[in-house]
């Protein structure tokens, strides 16, 4: 559990919207445009995650629905809960600047969004939870990144985990100043691609 997890409000809303409302908005191809959704970074992170989840999980759902529809529904529901919890701003991750009058940061949610996208666009995995262990608010602190994911049936876990680690390290190296201690990958589910 991180410090941020403890601070998160336990309601079901993302900037005033339920995940069901956001799902319905996606169903309508985000039309008519809703400023209260499009103007919210948290809602847009959630929409982005939900959109990729739909694209990634559709085939998997098709395969699993015949065998065990209840388990599949629980899987998707759990992933949606994870997305909802991870889009809240969280801690401020500093970006260095020599001028002390400039306080530059990125939200923890934006970092987790990067990690999620890195995994979901790799192929072969559906990202679950992303946790940043360590004091991300303190520049230079080594951070342990822990992710869970579902791996496509037939892929070698060690090779896939190495690919995922490399992608996460690359995206965090490009878009953040987090010092990565290590990246732990836990495959907690298997899906049929």
């Amino acid at each position: 559990m991180t410090n941020d997890d403890a601070a998160m409000p336990e309601d079901d809303l993302v900037d005033g919207h339920t995940m069901e409302e956001l799902g319905a908005y996606l169903d309508r191809d985000r039309t008519p445009r809703d400023p209260s959704i499009e103007g919210s970074p948290a809602c847009r992170l959630a929409l982005s995650g939900m959109q990729r989840l739909r694209e990634l999980s559709w085939d998997a759902m098709q395969h699993r629905a015949e065998d065990d529809p209840d388990r599949d529904s629980a899987w998707i529901s759990g992933l949606l809960d994870t997305i909802r919890n991870e889009v809240r701003s969280g801690r401020d991750v500093p970006v260095d600047h020599p001028d002390p009058r400039l306080r530059l940061t990125m939200t923890e949610a934006s970092v987790r969004g990067l990690v999620r996208r890195a995994g979901d666009t790799m192929g072969g995995v559906v990202m679950g939870r992303c946790t940043l262990h360590g004091d991300v608010t303190e520049p230079g602190t080594p951070i342990r990144v822990e992710v869970t994911a579902s791996i496509a049936y037939g892929l070698a876990a060690d090779v896939t985990a190495d690919r995922l680690r490399a992608r996460i390290a690359e995206v965090l190296g490009r878009h953040s100043e987090i010092v990565i201690d290590r990246i732990d990958v836990v495959f907690d589910d298997v899906h049929v691609p």
Partner: protein, 124 residues
């Protein structure tokens, strides 16, 4: 009341800074400085409800100090830290110029810029 002209001045300044940020390479969007959910919990909700879509940078003046706060969505066409650094520098330089021109009594004490979202080319 003497507050009204200052409010209007700062609305216009916020509008200019919002446009300045939007024109920065790597910036996709400018967001209200405070998350909507958090803002709704306090009196700022009133301010937000009245907020215009092109007036998104917060300018606070308190006891002679001046702070500027903004939130952005960056895109991944360039490293997000480079984008947020340039945004901060543009705001700082624009306000320094206003100070030099006599439009501001002082330069800002603190400029806070937060990346709230990094959108990829694959993002919908």
């Amino acid at each position: 009341m003497t507050e009204e002209p200052r409010v209007h001045d700062d609305q216009e300044l916020s509008r200019r800074l919002t446009a300045l940020i939007r024109s920065t390479p790597g910036v996709d969007e400018v967001y209200p400085a405070q998350p909507i959910l958090e803002a709704a919990a306090d009196a700022v909700a009133v301010k937000l409800a009245l907020r215009q879509p092109d007036v998104l940078v917060d300018i606070d003046r308190d006891h002679g100090s001046m702070t500027v706060t903004a939130g952005i969505a960056a895109n991944d066409t360039r490293p997000a830290p480079d984008t947020v650094r340039e945004v901060g520098e543009r705001i700082r330089d624009a306000l320094a110029q206003r100070h030099a021109d006599g439009a501001e009594a002082r330069e800002p004490d603190l400029i806070t810029v937060t990346i709230r979202l990094v959108e990829g080319l694959d993002a919908s």
